[in-house]
């Protein structure tokens, strides 16, 4: 089956949990995933004597603010019970109340979920192709360690840091690995790439393999198979990245409304499916870096991971995230319940491009601990053409004018901004050519933040 795989596409969104995005599949009886079921009171957290069950968001709106999802908060959310010797998943409302400093409403954001009509494209892909209902983020912590782990199989930090100096392993990062093994690859970025947060990758980020997202559809349709990339990484426009003007984040990071990301997902799927011959050999993995503070009912397995300098050991994976394998090579409408995490993608890479040779020691250790490969879902010998996605308009309410005046407040957005400023300083000409919007952003910031 691996011979039929010609193109691996990775699209990683930000900060949503499985139950929050795909729990509706079982609730609405659209797919037999391990998601939400009636009565919804069975999926609840307690706080100060009251039950806080999951509930359907009445509409897709921008949330009042982001939810807590950093290292300490994730620990509170997983809620390890010493008596029970397990995670109870009972601390999402507690963590939220501690974070906001006010008592939660009877319907409180961490417990909200979307129905199929609110996430039509995600829901369509999940029930048309393969929904993975046992995919966890690799570490119970925030964005940077999880993303670093996803793209190298290791991380040097166990928390987010607010500096443009996020380290990533020089040998095991996916780009080095692909270059070393002769894999043709490309990144399509809608705005500033997340990989800009790794200074060691700046020469790549500013190089020709990083292309603007708008070229994706035409490249897929027009590029000859022998020169087309074998691995494509697609990056949405990040909420935490610098923005100016009408530029619209669509990475699904709360507090964003979800419609922007749904539209991005639809455009991406349409672009990839627009070349039927190419689509026949495409495996598109849609996944999330971490859960973003939204409730999920499945406790993560106890598989540990020690940082390379042994300064910290994680005792488990992080919460479950939504993941979809969209490909003609999966059984239509299937559910993959094999234990997976972000290193399952790296396992797939090794199976395809270096058969018999593991991706890295860490990835191999996790495989030995029971984490499977994405390839487990590739079992369909009779590929079918790509069905069209839902074409309905997506109604998104939003607040215009999110200001750049105040500057970033979280570690990841601070890191993004610091990376952008440093890149402009060190590589002014390259940035002007590659990310002209950053130059405009810097001018706006300089003007806006004068006291």
């Amino acid at each position: 089956m691996m011979d039929n795989v010609k193109t691996i596409v990775l699209l990683m969104f930000e900060n949503r949990s499985f139950d929050h995005m795909l729990g509706h599949l079982s609730l609405e009886k659209l797919s037999p995933v391990n998601g939400l079921k009636k009565p919804l009171q069975s999926f609840s957290n307690s706080f100060e004597g009251d039950l806080y069950p999951v509930y359907n968001f009445p509409k897709d709106v921008r949330l009042p603010f982001d939810l807590p999802h950093e290292y300490d908060e994730v620990a509170a959310q997983l809620a390890w019970s010493e008596a029970q010797k397990k995670f109870t998943m009972g601390g999402f409302v507690k963590a939220y109340a501690a974070f906001t400093g006010v008592g939660p409403n009877a319907r409180t954001e961490p417990m909200g979920f979307f129905k199929s009509t609110q996430v039509p494209v995600t829901s369509f892909l999940a029930r048309t192709f393969c929904a993975c209902d046992n995919w966890f983020c690799p570490l119970p912590t925030g964005t940077q360690p999880n993303r670093t782990f996803a793209f190298s199989g290791d991380t040097f930090k166990h928390k987010n840091i607010g500096l443009p100096t996020v380290p990533i392993d020089a040998d095991t990062n996916l780009f080095s690995w692909m270059n070393r093994n002769g894999v043709r690859w490309r990144v399509y970025h809608d705005g500033l790439s997340f990989f800009a947060l790794y200074p060691s990758l700046w020469p790549l980020v500013l190089g020709s393999n990083f292309r603007d997202y708008e070229f994706l559809a035409s490249d897929v349709q027009n590029e000859a198979p022998e020169s087309a990339p074998e691995v494509i990484i697609i990056e949405p426009s990040y909420q935490d990245a610098p923005h100016v003007g009408p530029d619209r984040p669509n990475d699904n990071h709360a507090p964003l409304a979800i419609g922007w990301g749904e539209d991005f997902l639809r455009r991406t799927y349409e672009a990839l499916a627009s070349n039927p011959a190419r689509w026949a050999g495409t495996v598109m993995v849609v996944y999330y870096d971490e859960h973003g503070g939204f409730y999920d009912h499945v406790a993560p397995p106890r598989i540990d991971y020690k940082l390379p300098d042994t300064s910290y050991t994680f005792a488990s994976l992080g919460p479950r995230i939504p993941a979809i394998i969209a490909s003609p090579l999966v059984q239509g409408g299937s559910v993959c319940s094999t234990l997976l995490d972000h290193t399952s993608v790296l396992q797939l890479m090794a199976e395809k491009f270096t058969p018999g040779k593991p991706y890295s020691d860490t990835v191999e250790k996790r495989k030995a601990a029971g984490i499977g490969s994405v390839s487990v879902a590739l079992t369909n010998p009779n590929p079918q053409p790509a069905p069209p996605p839902p074409s309905q308009p997506l109604a998104v309410q939003s607040v215009l004018g999110a200001s750049i005046v105040n500057g970033p407040s979280g570690a990841v957005s601070q890191s993004f901004e610091a990376a952008a400023l440093e890149m402009i300083k060190q590589y002014p000409n390259e940035v002007k050519e590659k990310y002209p919007e950053l130059i405009q952003w810097k001018t706006s910031v300089d003007n806006a933040r004068k006291i």
Binding site: P39, L40, Q41, S46, F47, E48, G49, D50, L51, P53, Y55, N56, P58, P64, S81, A83, Q84, K85, K86, T88, G90, V102, G103, N105, A106, R107, V399, G401, A402, S403, V405, N406, I451
Partner: protein
């Protein structure tokens, strides 16, 4: 004023200069922060008591302290996704100031019928040699003092000793309601104790992870 301060600093010794510079930066930071719209407090009350739960005939008072121009948005919402249809009043406070991003906060006030059921749940257990104990405070800021207990019953298939507002009652394992707490406030401190089975004594993992007690409550005006 800024110019005068700068002139003053230029004549001061270095150490004082630095201190003053820090003070200036602090003042300017405070000024910058104070320019942002902010919601210092936003609460709902009924009869002067903080609450997020009322009955249909109750009047609702809304209090806020903000920096900026406030707008209060109000609408009713019916949620039928759970076991019972539930009614809420949604109050959104939007505070604007100049061109800054508005501050926003939402309070959902639940509107209950005169009599309804309620689950009392606590999930942090402690153990003694022969008992499991759950205790906590049912939130007064959510319930005010308007909802009183009619009856309580165990739906967990085990007996519980219940302490609330200075009273002690026994709940049997067979879900028979007890009226021993009738007329007491729902909100406030609760304690639940239950004897461990021999299996639970030797392995706490077999003990319940939470206590859930079903109560019938009524509005005190009833």
């Amino acid at each position: 004023m800024r110019t005068n301060l700068q002139r003053h600093f230029s004549k001061a010794p270095d150490s004082i200069d630095r201190v003053n510079y820090v003070v200036l930066v602090l003042i300017l930071s405070v000024f910058a922060i104070s320019c942002k719209p902010k919601i210092d407090s936003f609460i709902t009350k009924s009869d002067g008591i903080e609450t997020k739960t009322i009955a249909a005939d109750d009047s609702l008072e809304v209090y806020w302290k903000v920096r900026g121009k406030p707008t209060l948005l109000f609408h009713e919402r019916i949620d039928s996704s759970g076991l019972e249809v539930e009614k809420f009043v949604e109050l959104t406070l939007l505070v604007k100031k100049g061109k800054k991003e508005p501050a926003r906060r939402l309070i959902m006030v639940q509107v209950l019928p005169q009599e309804s059921s309620n689950t009392i749940v606590f999930d942090e257990a402690t153990f003694t040699k022969d008992s499991i104990i759950f205790k906590g405070i049912k939130s007064p800021s959510r319930w005010g003092n308007f909802f009183l207990l009619k009856s309580v019953k165990s739906t967990m298939g085990r007996p519980w000793t219940v302490y609330h507002e200075g009273k002690k009652i026994e709940l049997s394992s067979d879900s028979i309601p007890s009226f021993g707490l009738q007329g007491l406030n729902l909100a406030g401190p609760w304690e639940f104790r239950s004897l461990l089975t021999p299996e639970e004594k030797s392995d706490h993992q077999k003990a319940p992870v939470e206590v859930r007690i079903q109560a019938i409550i009524y509005h005190k005006s009833k």
